[in-house]
Symmetry: C2
Subunit: 235 residues, 2 copies
Amino acid sequence: MTVEVWTDINCPFCYVGEGRLEQALEAFPHREDVEVVYRSFELNPEAPKDVTRPVVEAVAEKYGATVEQIEANEDRIGAMAGELGLGYRTRGRDSGNSFDLHRLTHYAKEQGKQRELFNRLYKANFAEERSVFADQEFVVDAAAEVGLDPAEVRKVLDDPTSYAAEVRADEREATELGARGVPFFVLDRKYGISGAQPTEVFSQALNQAWSERPRRSLITVEGAEGADACGPEGC
Amino acid sequence: MTVEVWTDINCPFCYVGEGRLEQALEAFPHREDVEVVYRSFELNPEAPKDVTRPVVEAVAEKYGATVEQIEANEDRIGAMAGELGLGYRTRGRDSGNSFDLHRLTHYAKEQGKQRELFNRLYKANFAEERSVFADQEFVVDAAAEVGLDPAEVRKVLDDPTSYAAEVRADEREATELGARGVPFFVLDRKYGISGAQPTEVFSQALNQAWSERPRRSLITVEGAEGADACGPEGC
């Protein structure tokens, strides 16, 4: 069974939602038959490259909210993360353009390290005092920590065309599948889950999709009589 | 909807079975939404390359039948082909190793000419006084007739590794899907049809598979309340 997760490094509810998916997967009896694939979705595609802004300030300005309102929301997200045992710093987090990071996650996917890289970048962005959007050397080190080759990582980050088509393809598919935000989870291309739903919702959906997973064997269609065919025993 | 056809140029019931599929498709109201894909299956993988044998003699020997029995079978196949308006010569047809021809059909597939090439080779093998198994110049001409580049065709035929992996992958899949002979038809990887079934069987299966074809839109899974997400309007 395949679970696709459209996500952005900028998205705190992706961090929380994936934590809940992970909880559901840990309790799922067919965990080893589930492949999780990450797909790209940019929340701030218009943000300038290599510039970061404090989240609280940027969000308050963008939506005309007060700093107090945004801080209260951050506190709420921090509590949700805390329930999952995930670190979350409620003040001082940055936002920025995530296109280059998404390109890098597609390189990591080819190397079998996509999940590891996402988790490392999430941790840096949400739980550590690190900015991942404008500090290439930190990103190179973080990628190396999960086993990626620093020279190859630099090559990908420095070439804006590298894996760009893969990011764009993911974003087109998100639109085609009806995603209007992230996190957006798709099970076996049949069931869609929007947002950081409670863990039980993921558990129920996993069970439902599992019971309806595509059959490995075909349904045989037959006429009234056996039909003529050729095989090892002749025609 | 996708219809996959495992077939071999050596297989007269493939020729007849595909003619019946074609009849069913002509009457099928969603014909333009059906993609037919040919897949490789060798009936005589042990046959030496570039050697042909008269079918009647080879089959009689292989199965310990009399020439009269095989000729009667050929007459019966000829009548089945005739009902579809397909030419069929009941005497003098050759058999041989079809591996190189299968490789070529995979090249033709890349060029959007797979169906045309199969039909041309079938016609040559079953309806014309031509051998397709050991006459490379004829195969090059036949491929050129359907729009393939003769120099490229020669290159594929001369390199035994060219498209060999594609042929082997098709054959592995046939085994995995439970095919023990050809023709073997698979509709949307859900329904399997073995042999040259009557046209009505194909029509019924097309209608059944169409009514159950995969949905383009996802089924939305929701919890009791809306879930937190980030989108263009914020988090």
